[in-house]
């Protein structure tokens, strides 16, 4: 699915909210979408938010690595936010942590708990 991109011009942070399944079939379209936004805003930090990602294979790893390289060309950094446990495991298997920080935000924690049913 096409990611939603948000740009914070004050802090120069481009956030891409990734959604659904990331495989070889849709990785190209997601990549184009993010790269257009990087080109437009020249952010200092690219935040790839995985809160809405339900499945990912090595195409997702390639996507993160590719954006990391692109950001690096202009001295920018990349951060991965809120991946699910199984997706985080896949990222660790690929040693993605050596390139980008993997972090969890309060925003996503709030979203996750609001989705839970109150007993």
């Amino acid at each position: 699915m096409i990611p939603i991109t948000e740009y914070d011009s004050e802090r120069k942070i481009l956030t891409a909210l990734l959604q659904g399944e990331i495989d070889h079939h849709c990785a190209g379209e997601i990549r184009r979408c993010i790269d257009i936004a990087i080109d437009k805003y020249s952010p200092e930090l690219l935040a790839l938010d995985f809160s809405g990602v339900t499945f990912m294979d090595s195409s997702g790893i390639g996507l993160v690595m590719g954006r990391y390289k692109l950001m690096k060309e202009t001295g920018g950094e990349t951060i991965v936010l809120n991946p699910r446990d199984d997706i985080r495991k896949l990222m660790e298997l690929a040693s993605l942590g050596r390139l980008t920080k993997i972090a969890y935000t309060a925003h996503s924690a709030a979203k996750a708990s609001s989705g839970r049913k109150v007993p």
Partner: protein, 146 residues
């Protein structure tokens, strides 16, 4: 020891990338109806996605062909998944299986397909004949502890 087949399915599709999703749905539906662990299903789903993507991206590079996906569940808890293409084949299987090795870096292929299949399955076998095609066999047990 003879293994009894408990259930079996076979799916054939042309090498279009939208069928990667189809292969994942088919495998996870088939395995969940057999009562496989959620963790096992998630891992096999990822491994199948890698294998089918390899067949589409590398096996049938620039051409269209048929990919077949076969999944068998045995009474002893073994799940055998076979992904087959009749495409270009792999010249050097050992090299192809090396982590980070890819023949398609410009497409941002990470070169991790085989590494993921290996780590998410109990056993992997690759048979390939250049010009004839590739068969990848993934073995995994239905429950985490076998």
């Amino acid at each position: 020891m003879k293994r009894e087949v408990k259930n079996k399915m076979k799916l054939s599709f042309i090498s279009r990338s939208e069928n990667e999703g189809l292969s994942r749905i088919a495998v996870s539906a088939f395995l969940s109806s057999a009562g496989a662990d959620a963790g096992v299903i998630a891992q096999l789903k990822t491994a199948v996605s890698e294998g089918v993507t390899n067949a589409i991206v590398h096996g049938y590079r620039g051409i269209t062909g048929i990919v077949t996906l076969e999944c068998t569940i045995y009474e002893n808890g073994l799940i055998r998944t076979v992904i087959r293409d009749k495409g270009t084949g792999i010249e050097d299987i050992e090299k192809a299986m090396e982590p980070l090795y890819t023949t398609a870096p410009e497409e941002e292929r990470a070169g991790l397909g085989f590494a993921i299949m290996k780590s998410f399955c109990d056993r992997i076998r690759v048979r390939s004949v250049p010009g004839k095609g590739t068969t990848v066999t993934l073995d995994k047990y239905i429950a985490e502890n076998g």
